[in-house]
């Protein structure tokens, strides 16, 4: 086979082994082609410089772990699919009916929840739970109120410890019951500090105690 300088690039691109051999034979007597063939081949040799097949021992264990995790996830997804595996056995009509029923149930449930909330709680401002800032204010007011009532109780204590009349004895018993109820409510409020209902009940008990103590003190003045 005879090749010339003009065949060189075509052979570089897509030459057969026979053509390559012929080009090399031609290059032996042609310095230009010899240089081009050398440079062309040296590119392939230089490319090997970009080869680094060194092994990193920790790499496969890392991939293996990731694959194991992936397999676990796949198994979980397969388990979920099994739950719905009966679906393909149903006809398309039944599947559509089932889906429609599901959507209907969802819509009715959502509507019920929406209207129920509106009836029970018509005032959106009403809060059955206290926010943390409100809770702090309530607790500080409660403490001040409690201290004031304790002062009244200290003043009324002599009459209540030795009741001179049956009325004062009744007041004494009433105050014992109120203190017990206050202690219970405070214990509950301690467990559930944001519950506004408990706070209202506690306030009512304190007010009742305050009125009772005022009546005891008035009875003393008479």
């Amino acid at each position: 086979m005879n090749v010339t300088c003009s065949d060189r690039e075509r052979i570089f691109e897509d030459g057969t082994p026979a053509e390559w051999a012929a080009l090399e034979a031609h290059a032996a007597s042609c310095p230009l082609c010899a240089e081009e063939v050398r440079a062309w081949k040296s590119l392939s040799v230089a490319a090997k410089e970009l080869r680094d097949y060194s092994d990193s021992p920790s790499f496969w264990p890392r991939i293996e772990r990731a694959l194991a995790e992936e397999a676990t996830k796949k198994a979980q997804r397969a388990g979920l699919r099994r739950w719905f595996s009966f679906l393909p056995s149903l006809s398309l009509t039944w599947q559509t009916a089932l889906a429609g029923a599901f959507v209907l149930i969802l819509t009715v449930s959502a509507g019920w929840v929406y209207f129920h909330r509106s009836i029970v709680d018509p005032n959106p401002d009403h809060q059955s739970l206290l926010k943390s800032s409100a809770l702090r204010e309530v607790e500080s007011a409660e403490t001040a109120y409690e201290r004031a009532i304790d002062k009244l109780a200290t003043e009324a204590k002599p009459q209540l410890d030795n009741p001179a009349t049956p009325l004062l004895a009744n007041y004494h018993e009433k105050l014992v019951v109120l203190d017990s109820a206050i202690a219970d409510l405070r214990a509950q409020a301690g467990l559930n500090p944001s519950n506004a209902q408990l706070r209202y009940q506690l306030l009512a008990m304190y007010q009742e105690k305050q009125h009772t103590l005022e009546e005891v003190l008035e009875a003393r003045q008479r």
Partner: protein, 226 residues
């Protein structure tokens, strides 16, 4: 004779040596003859590996790693530029193979399919890295970072080649890396990059021509520059 520019570092090392005989013999693809037993073995092993991976056997993935892990990592490193991103891309490729092996229909070989996933994963990683870089550049007024592999006063052959490869088109770079560095055949590269064999050959030719221009200007232009 060309002793100028980037020709120097490799001219000292390289003589007119024949192509290294490895996984591919150039240009053996042109031979048409009797049944190639090695190719038949390769195909049956490929099919067996695909079947074992499809069954979820982790040992099959280990075999895939043993056969191709180093080459996959090397290819990813050359596409992405650093070993850490390369390892992430290879791991992601194994996970993608695991996820989508059920959909593998055997239109190409299993290994070719795996490399196609790897190359696409590298493209994605490169795109996402570019996006992050753009966001970082928008967020800060810092000057752009220095290329980690920028050549020094006396660039090595590897660095010179990497710098020249960066100037090629994406397809030229990929074909050059797959053919010349990793030793794949044009038929395999065609499957991986979804192009024809002829296009792969032509792209390689264009890539090598450009690299030759950049690394070792032909004698004619060297003489002109003097």
């Amino acid at each position: 004779m060309g002793t100028m520019g980037l020709a120097l570092p490799w001219r000292a090392r390289i003589t007119s040596v024949p192509r290294e005989r490895g996984t591919r013999v150039e240009p053996s693809e042109h031979f048409v003859g009797g049944p190639n037993l090695a190719a038949v073995d390769e195909r049956s092993e490929d099919a067996a590996l695909a079947a074992a991976c499809r069954s979820g056997d982790l040992r099959a993935y280990e075999r895939l790693y043993t056969l191709h892990g180093a080459r996959m990592k090397n290819l990813a490193r050359n596409l992405l530029g650093n070993p850490s991103d390369a390892e992430d891309a290879v791991q992601e490729t194994f996970l993608k193979v695991h996820r989508s092996i059920a959909g593998f229909r055997g239109q190409s070989s299993f290994v070719t399919w795996t490399y196609r996933i790897l190359i696409n994963t590298c493209y994605d990683a490169r795109r996402s890295r570019l996006r992050k870089k753009e966001v970082a550049n928008q967020d800060s007024e810092e000057s752009p970072g220095i290329e980690p592999r920028a050549p020094g006063a006396h660039p090595t052959l590897r660095m010179a080649l990497e710098r020249a490869l960066a100037k090629l088109t994406q397809h030229q770079r990929d074909v050059f890396l797959l053919y010349e560095v990793e030793g794949f055949r044009h038929s395999e590269i065609a499957g991986m990059l979804e192009m024809t064999e002829t296009a792969s050959k032509n792209t390689l030719f264009q890539a090598k021509k450009s690299l030759r221009q950049m690394l070792e200007p032909p004698r004619g232009s060297a003489a002109e520059s003097r």
